[in-house]
């Protein structure tokens, strides 16, 4: 009997559809040509030039500082939010769920503009701190959703058994609950980090003087400046993002075992 080829073809088409543009971008980052039109030979020229672009590296530093800080805080807040959503029921938690869920569906422009208006009316100076707050705001939702999914799979009888056997609340949480939740929390944290590093729209609105992040910088380079530098930079970003993604997947797979 002939094997059905359809799944294979569909998979191949999906992969091409998703990854062909990225492959072309990566190839072009090694192109000596300034425009992607023709292949002018293999070159690391753009990578070399990238090293000397201080403004870009300052933007990278801003992005990483915000990414790390926003990830830490949003993971903490998001996890506690998920815990509250899972353990308690009632109208309050229903409202809580809706509020946590909303940022996932609110358009980014709207969120960026409203955050800007908020900061301005509160008289907060725009800068790294406001970008950090904005990123925490939208990251919490993602973290809470991921951790919540993990909590719903969790067998709470294990925690109860620990309590029966004499573990205090703190010991049970620290030695039983958290290790069981850890893969979910880590995956959520990595997701938050990726989202924070990627964000352009919200960051653009709430950024202040001296706090240009990498995505903002890249957008402004498209009009003025050298497009191939963006290719080289994007390639580096892609490598970083893919590494982070692979780790996330590893952690989520462990859950199934």
């Amino acid at each position: 009997m002939k094997r059905n080829r359809v799944p294979l073809v569909v998979t191949a088409l999906v992969l091409v559809f998703f990854y062909l543009p990225m492959v072309i971008l990566i190839i072009n980052s090694f192109n000596a040509s300034r425009f992607g039109g023709s292949w002018e030979g293999f070159s690391l020229y753009w990578y070399a030039r990238l090293l000397n672009e201080h403004e870009i590296w300052a933007a990278v530093e801003n992005t990483l500082v915000i990414g790390v800080a926003a990830t830490l805080i949003s993971t903490l807040l998001g996890t506690t939010a998920a815990f509250a959503l899972h353990r308690y029921a009632g109208t309050l938690q229903k409202a809580h769920y809706t509020l946590i869920y909303t940022p996932l569906v609110v358009p980014e422009v709207l969120m960026g503009m409203s955050l800007l208006l908020l900061f301005v009316s509160l008289g907060v100076d725009l800068g790294l701190f406001t970008i950090f707050l904005a990123h925490v705001t939208f990251c919490i939702s993602y973290v809470a959703m991921v951790v919540l999914a993990r909590l719903q799979d969790l067998d709470f009888s294990i925690v109860e058994a620990a309590r029966d056997l004499g573990a205090g609340w703190w010991t049970a949480t620290w030695r039983i609950l958290l290790p069981l939740l850890a893969p979910g929390i880590a995956a959520a944290g990595l997701l938050a980090f990726t989202l924070s590093v990627d964000d352009f729209v919200i960051s653009f609105f709430v950024a202040g003087p001296g706090s240009t992040t990498l995505p903002i910088r890249i957008y402004s380079m498209i009009k003025h400046g050298s497009p191939p530098l963006i290719n080289a930079l994007s390639t580096i970003l892609l490598v970083v993002t893919f590494t982070v993604l692979l780790i996330t997947q590893r952690l989520t797979q462990e859950k199934k075992r």
């Binding site: 800007l116 725009l126 800068g127 701190f129 950024a207 001296g210 402004s220």
Partner: protein
């Protein structure tokens, strides 16, 4: 790690810690100032300069209009500078603090939107013109009539921008490219429809790669774009039609809520010191309209029509202005052009 901790600490302080040296915040396009000049300015004035970038006039405007503060100097295009001035977002320039503005090219000021430099100082100029491949289009006459050449049929493009392309036809007919006269516009429409038969398409981006790879032989485009492609293909030449063309300028303006107004004035003055302006022109590869800086430019730059439009070109050029309600007239004509066979 130590650095990260320090950064996080600063973050915790809400970035509000005071720095002894005053800081000037510039909000501009990317790669638009020679980095050495910034360092020199910092040293001379014992201050710090931060550069932040935006990607379009509109997004910058939306952000500032939304209430974002902290920036001192912004470099919008002329039309946006005028809008910002009318909205009361800008300070009036104190000319006593910027004596170097006397070097600004009077030829340019004749056509500028802010002729008295009341609220803006011109920063960088670009023109729209015609780029072509020297080896494939010999003996090109610098006129808009090139788009009537049937021997180049299907190998030419014009900008997909109603003001630029209709403007070209208006200049060809000897009218102002800011006209609101419907008869003149109708005549321009017929010219563009005639040209359209010879065009491959109306194109804003791909004409660069198309020209570099000789897919197109002659394109209507911005000088800044053409300069970039010229690095790729030595055969590319640029010329400005003798009937005149459009000229665009990015200005330097000081925001009303600037906390460093004095330093901002000093910065504008610094950028218009002839030596500095010349260096900046050579680096950015647009023209800073500073008359006293022209003799200091390298002969190579001065003889490059893409970088250095001649006095004649600057005289015949016009700045595209925002026509407000009359914009609809152009939209109507443009729709008719697009619909024509």
């Amino acid at each position: 790690m130590k650095r990260l901790c320090a950064a996080l600490f600063i973050l915790a302080l809400a970035g509000g810690c005071a720095i002894d040296r005053p800081t000037l915040h510039v909000f501009t396009w990317s790669d638009y100032i020679k980095p050495d000049l910034i360092q020199r300015f910092e040293k001379e004035n014992s201050c710090r300069v931060t550069i932040d970038t935006f990607d379009s006039n509109e997004s910058m405007y939306a952000k500032l209009k939304g209430g974002a503060t902290g920036y001192d100097i912004v470099s919008p295009s002329s039309y946006m500078a005028r809008t910002m001035w009318r909205q009361g977002m800008l300070q009036e320039l104190d000319r006593k603090q910027v004596p170097n503005l006397s070097h600004v090219d009077p030829e340019y000021l004749k056509i500028a939107l802010d002729k008295e430099m009341k609220y803006s100082a011109p920063y960088m100029l670009t023109v729209t013109g015609v780029a072509y491949l020297k080896n494939r289009v010999p003996n090109l006459q610098p006129t808009w009539a090139v788009f009537d050449r049937t021997d180049l049929k299907g190998r030419m493009t014009m900008l997909n921008d109603m003001r630029e392309t209709i403007g070209g036809a208006l200049k060809f007919l000897g009218y102002s490219l800011n006209t609101t006269d419907e008869r003149e516009l109708a005549a321009a429409r017929d010219v563009v429809i005639r040209w359209k038969k010879n065009l491959a398409k109306f194109e804003n981006e791909q004409y660069k790669t198309g020209l570099a790879s000789a897919e197109f032989l002659l394109v209507h485009g911005y000088s800044g774009d053409i300069l970039q492609v010229q690095e790729e293909n030595q055969e590319i030449a640029f010329t400005v039609p003798k009937e005149g063309t459009s000229i665009a300028c990015d200005d330097m303006v000081i925001l009303k809520d600037s906390r460093q107004a004095q330093l901002a004035h000093r910065f504008i003055n610094f950028m218009h010191a002839p030596q500095i302006a010349a260096e900046n022109t050579e680096f950015v590869r647009y023209l800073c309209p500073n008359l006293a800086s022209y003799p200091l430019l390298s002969p190579e730059t001065r003889s490059n029509p893409t970088l250095f439009p001649s006095a004649e070109v600057r005289q015949n050029a016009e700045v595209i202005t925002d026509l407000g309600a009359d914009n609809a007239k152009y939209t109507k004509v443009w729709d008719e052009i697009k619909a024509a066979e």
